[in-house]
Amino acid sequence: MAAQLHQAQVAALMASVADYMVSHKDELTALDAELGDGDLGRTIERGFNAIAEALRGELPADVGRLLYQLGKAFANAAPSSFGALFSAALMKGGMTMKDKASISLSDCAEATQVALDALIERGKSQLGNKTMLDAIAPALEAMRAALAQDGEVSSAAFFRAAAEGAQRGADETQHMQSQTGRASWQGERSIGKKDPGAQAIAMMFTAAALHLEAQGDAS
């Protein structure tokens, strides 16, 4: 049977991601100091601490409302550009899975697509502008490819593929000139530096893959 993730598994996965992100925040601060204002690590720390805290409280029974609630927690704790966008992504993506106590991997891909669209709408940016979008889009592509190749793909392998896609995308941003956000004020000098938001996305998928791999999850 195709892999499923239950609400409790999603919650555990998000807790692991939160943990991983908080402990890797300094890398993001350093990237944002190069290209922006150096606060992305702090955004990540506050936002994911808020997520971790929300996960310790009472949780909705369905995955959709769970993600929506976590997004809202992130937004109130870390209202920076990344925070505003990432939380919107979680909330809008979550809404596609409303009432589902467990989700399939193609639900995941679907939610990621919706999230990506929401980001584009809210952020008024495009692919290739050197933003987090440039990590999400290749992650989504990799998810779709994994599903197409193997309908029974494990959730660990699925997220590993997504993580690799996201990381490739994040690395690619080095060659781009920033067109959006405060990094765009650097103009050509932005070339050669990796986009911090894209790297943050890659790290989240990596954290998810690591979590699922550690669970020995091959369901």
Partner: protein
């Protein structure tokens, strides 16, 4: 980190508590959140509300301009960080007097996206008419053909003053929006940084500059400028601030108001030295100065440096600039 504070985590809430204690007749907070600051007499029936918002660390920007003749409310974020959608929403709701609310704030990603969320919420849930005007006056941050992506710096104070004065006259939301856009279309700024500031929760300088370096065009959060180089003389610095402005907007033969603004640590004495050169250059271009503003109007805590803002005047802008205003940090003229 040499700061007078109790705990970096409480820097902003303690600052806000002190501010509310100091100005109880002028300001109040709403929704049980000190980050949502509005005029004590809010909402004012029939008046367009003007709400701004943004990160802390820039006093008197933003909340220092909440008061009669300027702003109605301000959503206050952490140091150099956007307030939340919720805070913006609550502030908006609290100043709505039935005539709509103008969101008037600097062009920074977090603020833009969060204000968009707050505007959605206010119009959807409370049926409040919202207009939005972004301040994008810093010519150093993008070329003229990408002017709308520029960041907002001290020029926002002029926008607050002009829009606030018209709103005080009970103009409509569309009129207030239009005059804010008109003021900003005539406003340009550029700054120079000589030394960094420290975000309390970070604990180390936002950027580093060599002992003898400056950065022309640097943003108020330490965003990269147009050129880093050896520290130059006051006259040379003024030239490098005014020239890009003169290239960006036609000013010859007109009347302007100028704002020479310390980013924090740079003393007034140096602003006056700069002003001496500035009037000289302006005179050469046949530009007359009306009502110069020299002081600390938009800062970055203890950052060392200064910014120059120029607003080209017409009769209407001049009238609104002269109109009375009374806020904790900006007082002139008298309400009758």
């Amino acid at each position: 980190m040499k700061k007078i504070l109790n705990n970096p985590e409480n820097y902003v809430p303690e600052m806000l508590a002190g501010l509310l204690a100091a100005h109880p007749n002028r300001l109040k907070s709403v929704a049980g959140d000190v980050h949502c600051i509005v005029r004590a007499d809010s909402p004012i029936e029939g008046k367009v509300g003007i709400v701004t918002g943004g990160g802390s660390g820039h006093l008197p920007v933003f909340l220092g301009y909440v008061g009669r003749g300027m702003l109605d409310g301000c959503a206050v974020g952490d140091v150099f960080a956007s307030p939340t959608i919720e805070q913006m929403y609550q502030t908006t709701k609290a100043v709505h007097g039935g005539a709509g609310v103008l969101h008037l704030f600097g062009n920074y990603g977090g603020d833009v996206m969060n204000f968009a969320g707050a505007a959605d919420q206010a119009s959807m849930e409370d049926n409040i008419e919202i207009a939005t005007v972004l301040v994008a006056d810093d010519v150093a941050s993008a070329p003229a053909d990408k002017a709308s992506t520029r960041r907002g710096v001290a020029g926002m104070v002029y926008a607050f003053k002009i829009a606030g004065a018209l709103a005080e006259e009970r103009a409509t939301l569309a009129q207030v929006k239009a005059i804010a856009e008109h003021a900003l279309a005539n406003t340009r700024s550029m700054g120079v940084a000589l030394g960094p500031c420290i975000v309390p929760q970070v604990g180390k300088p936002t950027f580093t500059l060599g002992e003898d370096e400056m950065e022309i065009g640097m943003g108020i959060h330490g965003e990269q400028g147009v050129r880093r180089g050896k520290l130059q003389t006051a006259n040379e610095i003024v030239d490098q601030l005014i020239n890009p402005i003169l290239e960006d907007i036609e000013l010859s033969g007109s009347e302007v108001t100028v704002m020479l603004n310390s980013l924090g640590a740079t003393p007034l004495e140096e602003l006056y030295i700069m002003y001496g050169r500035l009037v000289e250059v302006l005179k050469q271009h046949n530009i007359r100065v009306y009502r110069p503003y020299i002081g600390r109007f938009a800062t970055s805590m203890e950052m060392l440096g200064a910014s120059l803002t120029v607003m080209k005047l017409d009769d209407e802008l001049k009238r609104l600039l002269d109109a009375p205003a009374s806020t904790p940090f900006f007082d002139h003229g008298q309400f009758v």
